[in-house]
């Protein structure tokens, strides 16, 4: 059977199982990608609701809605859910859907492993969220769970968080093995490394980062578990350990993790900007090397999260210099994206709007990142709202906008329908405006001296907090439009055709929309 014939029968070889069984037992990369993306969507709403509670409590000074203990549980779970439950599964979902389509592979290399890596996650998040319903507090020490607050002083539910993180780690490790195996082995004939789409490249690098650091996180939580229950003292000075060791281990995972969250978004942006500029990506080779250098540098900067724990001057300088260096490859990426747009034929459909939003706001987040890298200044910024503003600027308009841009970009391919462009634009503009109203004032708050993770604050911080809270509610509501657009596109909409975007050049646009259940059964040939 030729692949052309397959295309005419989109439901050739459908999954023979029905309803729940289809989704539970599926080994199809498209089904699993869809599952990942829906999990991320649900978690986005849960983690977002927690953010709304946090901002509601901070709307005015004084004890208002929730007590300080519950406030800490909300900041902890909001962080954990957004990092592990939203950005990572969404990126993995995109990889599952798009990597095989973009490299001309029939499926992921290890389909059963793929099923398993997804289905571990709902269990992990059930464990994590169940802590809210236990007698006694849920984890309440921030998503970074510094010892000894999480060891000697951690609530009993901490153990559930530890096992949840173990499961998420397993899932990520298996997922990244699968992605690496797929990209190495299943590229179609003619798809040399330097012809790989940027999204695939960034995921390839990300998968190696995951493989390198998720075991470190597993070790970290296991040491916490051992300190809590097995009488060890890794992080307890009274037993010969050191609480700062925890931070070294955690951030050795944590900093590469930051790039795990952002690199696939870089890949998405590197696909979208050329498509809507109708011009090839500028400096493809440099983009690849920049991605790899960012990944390598990420292993040598972890202690910039810990300047205030104090370290020898040589250490402080080393971590400051290497952190500053990260700005160079990141700068190269930003300049290349702008140059890709330059003298193109630009149109501004929703994916492009999100990509431009990404470009502008990520650059702002990058600049505050360089400011934070300066060790002496970091002593003033550390653990304030300036840091909160910084990482929300790189994570919300960075990773999250990257994911949203990708969803708008590929939704026509996935569903076969065009989404409602008007609603998409509304979603973009409202998100853009409200997220700036939410996070921009946080720079001022931090510089003026407001620490992060406080449930109540001095009166001089009242106005900016109120503005930020209003922005947050607006941003939260705007996301309901996103959900609405997605559902609407799934059930109806104009036919998308193989290639809804004039400027698309990658392989997925050669397939029908929606693609048949099995694609590239016969691999395409690149010249």
């Amino acid at each position: 059977m030729s692949s052309a014939a397959l295309h005419q029968h989109p439901h050739f070889f459908p999954n023979p199982l029905k309803w729940a069984a289809r989704w539970i037992f599926t080994t199809n990369h498209k089904d699993i990608g869809t599952l990942y993306l829906w999990l991320a969507m649900i978690m986005f709403l849960v983690g977002g609701a927690m953010a709304m509670l946090i901002r509601a409590e901070l709307f005015q000074p004084g004890a208002r809605l929730i007590d300080p203990e519950f406030f800490n549980q909300m900041t902890t779970l909001h962080g954990l859910i957004m990092v592990f439950g939203v950005v990572m599964p969404a990126m993995t979902g995109l990889a599952n859907w798009m990597v095989p389509l973009m490299i001309g592979a029939p499926d992921m290399a290890l389909p059963r492993l793929n099923n398993w890596s997804f289905w571990i996650l709902p269990a992990a998040f059930t464990l994590l969220i169940s802590t809210l319903f236990m007698s006694g507090p849920a984890p309440d020490f921030g998503w970074t769970f510094y010892a000894p607050l999480s060891t000697t002083y951690g609530p009993p539910s901490t153990d559930f968080m530890i096992f949840a993180i173990h499961l998420m780690g397993l899932s990520s490790i298996m997922g990244s093995i699968n992605i690496i195996a797929t990209i190495i082995n299943m590229r179609c004939p003619g798809m040399t490394w330097m012809k790989l789409p940027m999204f695939v490249w960034t995921w390839f690098v990300t998968a190696f980062l995951l493989l390198a650091v998720m075991p470190v996180l597993a070790g970290c939580v296991t040491m916490v578990l051992a300190d809590r229950h097995f009488g060890t003292s890794f992080f307890n000075a009274a037993g010969g350990g050191d609480p700062v060791l925890f931070q070294h281990v955690f951030w050795f995972f944590g900093h590469p993790e930051v790039y795990i969250l952002i690199l696939p978004a870089f890949g998405v942006i590197s696909e979208i900007i050329p498509t809507f500029s109708r011009k090839p990506l500028f400096g493809y080779v440099c983009m690849v090397y920049a991605t790899v250098s960012i990944a390598l540098l990420s292993f040598f900067v972890w202690a910039h999260h810990m300047f205030t724990t104090e370290m020898p001057v040589a250490g402080e300088l080393f971590f400051m210099y290497v952190t500053m260096l990260v700005a160079v490859p990141t700068g190269v990426k930003v300049f290349n994206w702008v140059t890709t747009m330059f003298r193109g034929a630009l149109t501004f459909e929703t994916p492009m709007l999100f990509a431009i939003g990404f470009l502008v706001l990520f650059t702002i987040g990058g600049c505050s990142g360089v400011m934070l890298s300066l060790a002496p200044a970091d002593f003033q910024y550390q653990d304030t709202y300036f840091v909160v503003a910084h990482f929300h600027y790189v994570l919300v308009p960075g990773s999250i906008f990257g994911i949203m841009a990708a969803v708008y970009y590929w939704l026509p391919k996935w569903t076969g329908h065009r989404y409602d462009e008007r609603l998409g634009r509304w979603h973009f503009w409202l998100s853009l405006i409200f997220l700036n109203i939410t996070f921009f004032p946080m720079h001022f708050l931090g510089l003026a001296g407001m620490p992060r993770r406080v449930p109540d604050y001095a009166l001089q911080f009242a106005d900016f907090n109120q503005i930020a809270s209003l922005g947050a509610f607006g941003f939260g509501l705007a996301q309901l439009i996103f959900l609405w657009v997605i559902i609407k596109t799934i059930v109806s909409g104009k036919a998308a055709g193989n290639k809804p975007w004039e400027g698309g050049t990658t392989l997925e646009w050669d397939l029908p929309s929606p693609p048949p259940y099995h694609t590239w059964v016969h691999p395409p040939h690149l010249d």
Binding site: D67, L281, V360, P376, D383
Partner: protein, 393 residues
């Protein structure tokens, strides 16, 4: 054209929103303080340098980008150019940022060295973080005290109007002289805290079991306020730092006062018999300052981590047990020992309070001398059990 009009409208709406919010906040602090120490001035300059460089970079990047967005939209520039590489450009925009970074790194390196130079200090203060208060010890003057949040619970619960220094006020501030290099030895008793006074440019993590150093040489007399910067539990937002910098002469007077006051406190009416209402009144204060963070104002606690005191085995059981528990703490739990934090009066009143409030009607009245006896007995057993001198972390 229609699209341009629409965009112009959107931009106007956005800018006017920004302007409105700007006017509303014009009176508030937007930027980092330049502070009152040499280090904080240096840090401020470094911060501003990095900020202005960032502004220039953003202006260039966004300038080119918006130029492309306006001039190279498909309606104006229908055929895209096909160029996709230029080695010279790539090298330029790798090298220029590198040079800019080197230019900022030089002053930053100098400040790093200056911050870490704690030599030649004239006064040493040990700062210890507790859940949730600070303890200050003047090692050579023999002065030591705890510094608790003094904002009344009623202000936090919105029952009274909030004062000017809401959440940034303490019962006993740290006092230091201006013009002298003060060295801080910073540690913690339980979890990690972080001692931060923005005006000094000092933020140092207080790590249990380890001592970190920082220093400040304040150049202006005044009151400086800061907060704990590292999440340390439910009371993290409620352990502020207040430092009063005074002239050297005033500082000497203060030291003399403090050392004299200490002698008085030790000999103050040890055998006085307190009335129940006196004990309850003092007990309420002591409770709200030291206990309510975990056990809550209403004594309901946050079980199972922080047990309730209302009708609990401890508050209804033998008073001796409760006094011992307050003094020694309970190992393996979040309950610290208050032996060196609370005086006999404090313990007597807080125990009386907990045994007669929250529906606990034991009618027990505990006198300070009873506490003194238990404390003395505990000390003797402690010494006989442990021959080596106690290491004070």
């Amino acid at each position: 054209m229609k699209l341009l009009k629409k965009m112009a409208l959107k931009i106007t709406v956005f800018l006017s929103l920004m302007l409105v919010s700007w006017r509303a906040v014009a009176d508030y602090q937007l930027n980092m303080t330049s502070g009152v120490t040499p280090v904080s001035h240096d840090v401020y300059l470094l911060h501003m340098t990095a900020f202005y460089i960032s502004l220039v970079i953003c202006a260039v990047v966004f300038g080119v980008m918006f130029y492309a967005i306006i001039m190279h939209r498909k309606s104006r520039h229908p055929v895209a150019s096909k160029f996709d590489q230029h080695l010279g450009l790539e090298i330029t925009w790798a090298v220029i940022p590198l040079l800019i970074l080197i230019i900022i790194a030089i002053p930053a390196t100098m400040v790093v060295y200056r911050m870490n130079d704690t030599r030649n200090s004239e006064l040493v203060v040990k700062v210890t973080g507790y859940q949730w208060k600070w303890r200050y010890e003047y090692l050579n003057q023999g002065i030591s005290f705890y510094s608790n949040l003094s904002t009344p619970m009623n202000q936090r619960a919105n029952l009274e109007p909030k004062g000017e220094h809401y959440l940034l006020e303490v019962d006993q501030p740290l006092v230091i002289p201006v013009g002298e290099k003060v060295r801080f030895l910073i540690t913690a008793n339980d979890v990690i805290h972080s001692w931060w006074v923005p005006a000094f440019g000092v933020k140092t993590d207080a790590i249990p079991g380890f001592i970190r150093e920082a220093w400040a040489q304040v150049d202006t007399v005044g009151t400086y306020r800061g907060q704990c910067a590292e999440l340390c539990g439910a009371g993290h937002g409620f352990m502020p730092i207040v430092v009063i910098a005074v002239s050297k002469a005033d500082f000497a007077k203060w030291v003399a006062n403090m050392t004299r006051g200490k002698v008085n406190a030790d000999t103050m009416l040890p055998n006085k018999t307190w009335s129940k209402s006196e004990l309850l009144q003092k007990g309420r204060q002591t409770y709200n300052q030291n206990c309510a963070g975990c056990h809550q104002t209403e004594g309901k606690g946050l079980p199972p981590l922080y047990p309730a005191l209302a009708s609990s085995k401890i508050t209804l059981g033998p008073a001796v047990d409760e006094i011992q528990l307050v003094l020694a703490g309970k190992s393996g739990t979040a309950m610290p020992g208050f032996d060196d934090q609370l005086s006999d009066d404090d313990v007597a009143s807080v125990v009386t309070y907990t045994r007669n409030e929250f529906g606990n009607n034991t009618h027990d009245i505990i006198q300070p001398r009873q506490v003194a006896k238990i404390r003395e007995a505990a000390k003797i057993t402690h010494q006989s059990e442990q021959s080596s001198p106690e290491v004070n972390v």
